[in-house]
Symmetry: C2
Subunit: 67 residues, 2 copies
DNA sequence: TAAAAGTGTAAAGTATGCTTTGCAAAGGAG
DNA sequence: CTCCTTTGCAAAGCATACTTTACACTTTTA
């Protein structure tokens, strides 16, 4: 799934490691989400969105066909 | 995870079967979500919320400890 | 009251999210 | 140029989401 994670993370000048720590997952998970290897779980999506002060729908793109 | 799925479904007088069909899963999946057997995936959460005309955060309750 | 529709549950199987470890390569800073 | 931080990737393993089938119980409707 397409996301704005990398964009938002870079705006705030955070490393993948720092973001991972902040939302309680490993760096590999953040990498995978940014590289669109898989879709975040609902809870992780919420934690990431909340961390950035946004709604889930503002971080994750559901407009794509197939979702 | 706590959700308002059952409440919203009953308001609209839908069966689990009908809702399941509408969002593209089986009835068992809807039952499990209503009975809090597990948490929906991000995509399913989006489909359900959208079906009810609400934001994800309005259907799923993230306030619980642990999430 | 008998049939039908709706719901809860269970177990086994498949698919996907996340972790762990480890290595390679790219970029910035001294 | 060299070190250090950051990032991409891979494979194996565990946890969880969802399916399929099937059965029991309850509620609605004819």
């Amino acid at each position: 799934m397409k996301t704005r994670i990398q964009e938002l993370r870079k705006q705030r000048k955070l490393s993948q490691e720092e973001l991972a720590l902040a939302v309680g997952v490993t760096r590999q998970t953040i990498t995978s989400l940014e590289r669109e290897k898989y879709t975040a779980s609902l809870v992780l999506a919420y934690k990431i969105a909340t961390y950035f002060g946004l709604a889930i729908e503002e971080v994750f793109d559901f407009s794509e066909a197939g979702y």
